[in-house]
């Protein structure tokens, strides 16, 4: 039983990290209806800046720099690419972000080389004892950050005109412009925000219990895709739920690997995707996503 709880808690805490990444997808999807496959490179930049600057300026300042750097890169991608490709279908735009990702990840991994970079976080390998369960302090921090950030976004989308402007632009940028929305600012803002979120997510991805930032970090970002889809690509709360579901699934399937071995080895990696497929079969727009509307 205590193993189960430990796995559950572990899953929730990893889920928080996935949720942060998934939230980045969601923000961009809401603002531009583009699935951003370049999110991995935003993660990498955020982490890279933190890793390179913390010995010089200390962790918190480095974190700020990382957030700023990733936000700037996000804004740059929007400005240089997404904005200029406005006439194309969103599927094509998604493929463009793959191209962007390819460029950035190639260059960044070259920069990182084969090193494993430490991020200099204050939590180190501290572990909190919750009853019989051990939880790394970094994961508690991730959970708290995810909860705060996601609540903030839920509120922002609902109650500020920024949210309305963003969604209006996403749907029809020409008409949104007629409402006085500065299209560039809104979607650039969204990309910058997504970049900032990615930097925060990168932080939690690269601190204990993982050894540090290296070129393989981007692979983890893949798991945030089922998280985002499962919750519904346009749902902020869905990102959180999706993150948790993926985190817990992965943790349980990994932890009970022995017992599940009749299903084949390495199930932990496919389980998130299987869960996603099942959810999509029942709810094609994810758990909390809005159904695609159609009327003629």
């Amino acid at each position: 039983m205590s193993t189960f709880i430990e796995l559950l808690v572990g899953g929730i805490s990893v889920g928080a990290v996935y949720a942060l990444i998934a939230l980045g997808f969601v923000v961009i999807f809401k603002a531009t209806e583009v699935v951003n496959f370049a999110h991995a490179s935003l993660l990498l930049v955020g982490g890279f800046v933190i890793a390179k600057t913390h010995p010089l300026v200390g962790f918190w300042a480095a974190l700020l720099l990382g957030v700023a750097g990733a936000a700037a890169l996000g804004a740059l991608i929007e400005f240089a690419v997404i904005r200029r490709a406005n006439v194309l279908s969103h599927s094509v735009l998604a493929i463009v972000t793959i191209g962007v990702d390819l460029i950035l990840v190639t260059e960044l991994t070259r920069q990182i080389g084969t090193e494993v970079l430490a991020l200099g976080d204050p939590w180190g390998s501290d572990v909190l004892q919750l009853g019989s369960v051990n939880v790394p302090a970094t994961r508690i921090a991730a959970l708290v950050s995810a909860a705060v950030v996601i609540t903030a976004f839920l509120l922002a989308f609902k109650y500020t005109s920024w949210g309305v402007a963003m969604r209006a632009t996403a749907e029809d940028s020409e008409t949104a412009a007629l409402m006085g929305v500065r299209r560039g600012r809104v979607s650039m803002g969204a990309w910058a925000v997504a970049g900032a979120l990615a930097a925060v997510a990168a932080l939690f991805m690269c601190v204990f219990p993982t050894p540090g930032l290296d070129r393989n970090v981007t692979a983890v970002a893949m798991k945030a895709f089922p998280a985002a889809i499962l919750g519904g690509l346009d749902s902020t709360g869905g990102a959180l739920a999706g993150g948790f579901i993926i985190g817990i699934t992965e943790s349980l399937v990994g932890g009970y690997q022995e017992e599940l071995s009749f299903l084949g080895r390495g199930l932990g990696d496919v389980a998130p995707f299987l869960v996603m497929i099942i959810v999509l079969l029942i709810r094609p727009a994810g758990l909390f996503g809005t159904k695609e509307l159609a009327r003629v």
Partner: protein, 371 residues
């Protein structure tokens, strides 16, 4: 004027293709074969993503099904009982492998018929991971992580191998690559013509309308869900055929190869070449699959690219960056892809040579798939 030029052009291309194996080194033939296989796969993906507007990020899975399907059907079980196989005649095995890929696509049709856009894209991403899981667990079929050797194709007693008897034509030793070259050309031409027929015929129009206006398509009598699933199956079979050819060229299939990178490169191909057309897929496939080898081989002649083993941007990295860049540039500046550029240039040429001739309307073949 163009009535004479066009056939002439084709005759030249055909001649080039036939004499190529007599002059090109193995490595070029091999690159060419990889590109042909990629082109077949890309044509299939273009039917799905370009013409029907269904984003798929799992195309590599169907290549794997084709490749391993062929190996399984064609190989005899290994002596130590570790590897299974049916030992069927190789052409039959190839056909069955393609069908198997189609069946795999059909099994996915509850998803493929109902989802679209980003949701379908990411759902198909699951295929990559599920495929990897299956391949590394079904060891008797796939040989597990190491893959297994590919039995060479044998058509009417003619084997596509280096051995046994050295076949020498016009002083050139005809090994596996030289022989496969012609098989690849035949398969590619066949696959291309078939796809063109589909696109220009009744199914193509239905596919385009599903892409542009799903409801209208239904009301006009197109069974949308069934068509979507059908195109997915067809595109899977193209993937399967590409997989068979790749297996034959590799001579050893390895599960790792059929990963996400491969799937994404297929998307890059159809974007770079031009969405929705057969020629676009072929051009894109050659571009993406030849680029890295060109860079590697000519790295010393290229500025900014460091020769293997030296500091700086390596050939592989440069190729990665360039093809990422190509995707971006094409989308931003060449909405019809390289093929669009080509048609535009031809139009301009035609206009120049015959200024009086009425110019046909050229709408760039970029699909507007916002719905």
């Amino acid at each position: 004027m163009s009535r004479i030029v066009t056939p002439l052009w084709w005759v030249l291309v055909a001649a080039g293709v036939v004499v190529a194996p007599f002059y090109l080194d193995g490595i070029w033939l091999q690159d060419g074969l990889f590109a042909m296989a990629a082109a077949i796969g890309a044509i299939g993906l273009n039917l799905l993503t370009g013409a029907t507007g269904q984003l798929s990020m799992g195309h590599a899975f169907f290549l794997a099904v084709g490749a391993f399907g062929y190996v399984y059907f064609a190989s005899a079980p290994s002596g130590d009982g570790e590897l299974d196989g049916l030992g069927l005649p190789t052409p039959l095995a190839a056909v069955l492998a393609v069908l198997l890929a189609g069946v795999a696509g059909g099994l996915f049709s509850p998803i493929a018929g109902r989802l679209k856009g980003a949701y379908l894209g990411i759902a198909t991403l699951a295929l990559i991971f599920i495929g990897h899981f299956a391949m590394s667990n079904a060891t008797p079929v796939t040989g597990g992580h190491n893959g297994r050797p590919v039995p060479p194709m044998e058509l009417f007693g003619f084997a596509f191998t280096d051995t046994p008897e050295p076949l020498v034509i016009a002083g050139v030793p005809f090994g596996a690559l030289e022989r496969l070259w012609f098989l690849g050309v035949v398969l590619l031409v066949g696959a291309g013509l078939f796809a063109r027929g589909v696109l220009r015929g009744r199914p193509g129009r239905a596919m385009n309308t599903i892409r542009d206006h799903e409801i209208a398509a239904g009301v006009m009598g197109v069974p949308v869900t069934r068509y979507r699933a059908g195109v997915f199956v067809l595109s899977s079979m193209y993937g399967g055929l590409a997989g068979v050819l790749i297996a034959l060229v590799f001579r050893q299939t390895v599960p790792d190869y059929f990963g996400l990178i491969l799937a994404l490169s297929y998307l890059a191909m159809i974007i770079i070449g031009g969405l929705g057309s057969v020629a676009g897929a072929v051009i894109g496939a050659f571009f993406v699959s030849m680029l890295p080898s060109l860079f590697t081989r000519y790295s010393d002649a290229l500025p900014l690219v460091a020769p293997t083993g030296q500091e700086g941007i390596g050939a592989a990295e440069a190729a990665q960056i360039l093809y990422g860049l190509a995707v971006v540039v094409v989308v931003l500046f060449l909405p019809g892809g390289l093929f669009g550029l080509f048609t535009k240039a031809r139009l301009r040429l035609a206009r120049r040579s015959a200024p009086a001739a009425p110019v046909k309307h050229a709408l760039t073949p970029t699909p507007e798939t916002r719905n």
